[in-house]
């Protein structure tokens, strides 16, 4: 498998399946781990980085990731391909932009991605569409066990798994759920929900994690504290308490909109379609906003000209790296806006 093969598929997190998938786009768990015998990356020279890279590569091959896993050496990968991996949520922005020996191993179905030499020696990530935290934990815990059999992790009885940054110490776990909340956004209640989330020490971020804006009503909610509670406690608070409540708020907001402001709601959806199906030049942010409204229309069964699969695909294909990949070469910002509009017109069935 190669990076180019990825562009022909939608990727796990946009499959639009799984529990609560009307609101929950995807669930993700990642574990941060380090090797006890090597310095953390801020103090690792090239030789150390390479030693860690080689060792972890071998260990990952010893797990059940499959023969067809994709190993990407970041140093041999151009900017466009690295950006493509970011857009598919397979690596972090930081990992794409860093320097030095580093890589990622990706399972063929893109549900697992193991980053080597990011901020920590190893970051294991498992991703699923919909709200599926319990099965994700079982899966990632198993992968962690298989690697732990082969290496000695940096671990301390008091502080738990030792990480380069003390904000990840302890369990090293980050549980994130990506939510699509256009109803709460339209009803103006979204800030209240987020304030409540932040009060319980959860972080609310944009589509691409740390330091990114919330574009198109997509929000990532994740735990902030990693020490003091067990993995299953963190997960159960998320999966059986907080997220279901937000999902319920969003559902209610959608019902109220449909009941009290049906014309305004349909107007949003149809204007989004109008723009996407007829624009001659359109930027990423506007596209994501419009696709968000279109997705709402499809999910609420108020808009039937397009199916969910198409909307989900366009979320990815309209982005910078994917767009250039399909076009088979580099495009500047203006060219991209034109190519994006063309792609959208073609996919949304507008004839001219």
């Amino acid at each position: 498998m190669e990076v180019d093969d990825l562009t022909r598929r939608t990727g796990e997190w946009l499959r639009g399946e799984g529990p609560s998938s009307e609101v929950v786009i995807s669930s993700r768990i990642r574990l941060a781990r380090n090797l006890s015998a090597h310095p953390f990356l801020s103090k690792a020279d090239d030789a150390e980085r390479q030693a860690v890279y080689r060792l972890l590569n071998k260990c990952i091959a010893g797990t059940d990731l499959g023969d067809d896993a994709l190993l990407v050496n970041m140093e041999d990968t151009d900017e466009l391909d690295r950006q493509l991996l970011v857009e598919r949520h397979l690596i972090s922005k930081q990992h794409a932009e860093n320097r030095g020996c580093r890589g990622v191993v990706i399972s063929p179905d893109e549900t697992r991605a193991l980053m080597i030499n990011e901020e920590d020696h190893l970051r294991i990530q498992c991703l699923r569409s919909g709200l599926q935290l319990d099965s994700l934990w079982e899966e990632i815990n198993g992968i962690d066990d298989l690697i732990e059999k082969q290496v000695e992790y940096a671990f301390d009885e008091r502080f738990g798994y030792l990480t380069a940054c003390p904000t990840n110490v302890g369990t090293g776990i980050r549980v994130s759920v990506m939510l699509h909340l256009p109803g709460l956004k339209l009803s103006g209640e979204i800030e209240r929900v987020f304030r409540a989330a932040r009060d319980t020490r959860l972080a609310v971020r944009g589509l691409y994690g740390e330091g990114t804006d919330a574009i198109g009503d997509f929000f990532q909610i994740s735990n902030q504290t990693t020490l003091g509670r067990s993995e299953s406690e963190i997960i159960s608070e998320f999966g059986s308490d907080i997220i279901p409540r937000i999902v319920q708020y969003e559902q209610t907001a959608r019902e109220v909109l449909a009941r009290e402001r049906p014309y305004q709601l349909d107007d949003k959806i149809w204007r989004a379609y109008g723009t996407l199906a007829h624009a001659r030049t359109v930027g990423t942010d506007e596209t994501l906003y419009m696709l968000s409204h279109l997705r709402l229309g499809v999910q609420m069964n108020r808009f039937k000209l397009v199916d969910l699969q198409t909307v989900n695909e366009l979320f990815l294909l309209a982005q910078r790296a994917h767009l250039q990949k399909i076009n088979g070469g580099a495009l500047d910002a203006d060219q991209r806006s034109i190519a994006r509009a063309e792609l959208l017109r073609k996919r949304l069935g507008a004839s001219t």
Partner: protein, 169 residues
């Protein structure tokens, strides 16, 4: 597409407030930047990034032999406390031990008061280490149950702890 703050008309509005205005309960929307929102008394309780916590922590300690602490160096990786302070990153696993007393309050603060790991333990450390972590977890939950006056849960947790302690030694 960006909305500017209604008060200063300068920064991007990131705080969106819906006020219910008496007497008719009319809704009024306001879009403010974070700074103006704070001045208006709308507080944003946010998780403090590690660097902010560090900065505050350092200010707090200034005058009390801070220079000495800043120069504290890990014999294993050579990172100084000053470097850690500016980057928020450790140089090697030993740093947790080397800087122990200086980072404990910081870790406590970043993790909502927690100081002890109660989750997964690598298998190589054996059954005992796993039980220790579980014990710490149960004791914490016992305290929480008592705080919440949930005595039924507290009794259950106490029995569980007793069983583990006699069993695990």
């Amino acid at each position: 597409m960006e909305i500017l703050c209604q008060l200063c008309n300068n920064s991007r509005a990131t705080v969106h407030v819906t006020d219910i205005v008496p007497p008719n309960g009319e809704k009024r929307e306001r879009h403010l930047c974070e700074a103006c929102a704070e001045q208006e008394g709308i507080t944003m309780k946010q998780h403090e990034p590690i660097n902010t916590i560090l900065a505050k922590f350092v200010q707090h300690k200034v005058g009390g032999g801070m220079q000495e602490v800043a120069n504290l160096t890990c014999p294993h990786c050579g990172v100084t406390f000053r470097e850690f302070r500016s980057q928020g990153l450790f140089g090697c696993p030993h740093d947790y031990e080397v800087f122990d007393q200086h980072i404990t309050p910081l870790i406590e603060r970043a993790h909502g008061g927690a100081t002890r790991h109660t989750g997964k333990v690598p298998r190589r450390l054996g059954v005992r280490a796993g039980q220790q972590a579980e014990l710490a977890n149960l004791k914490r939950r016992l305290n929480e149950a008592v705080d919440k006056e949930d005595y039924e849960a507290a009794a259950r947790l106490r029995d569980h702890i007793k069983a583990l302690e006699t069993d695990g030694g």
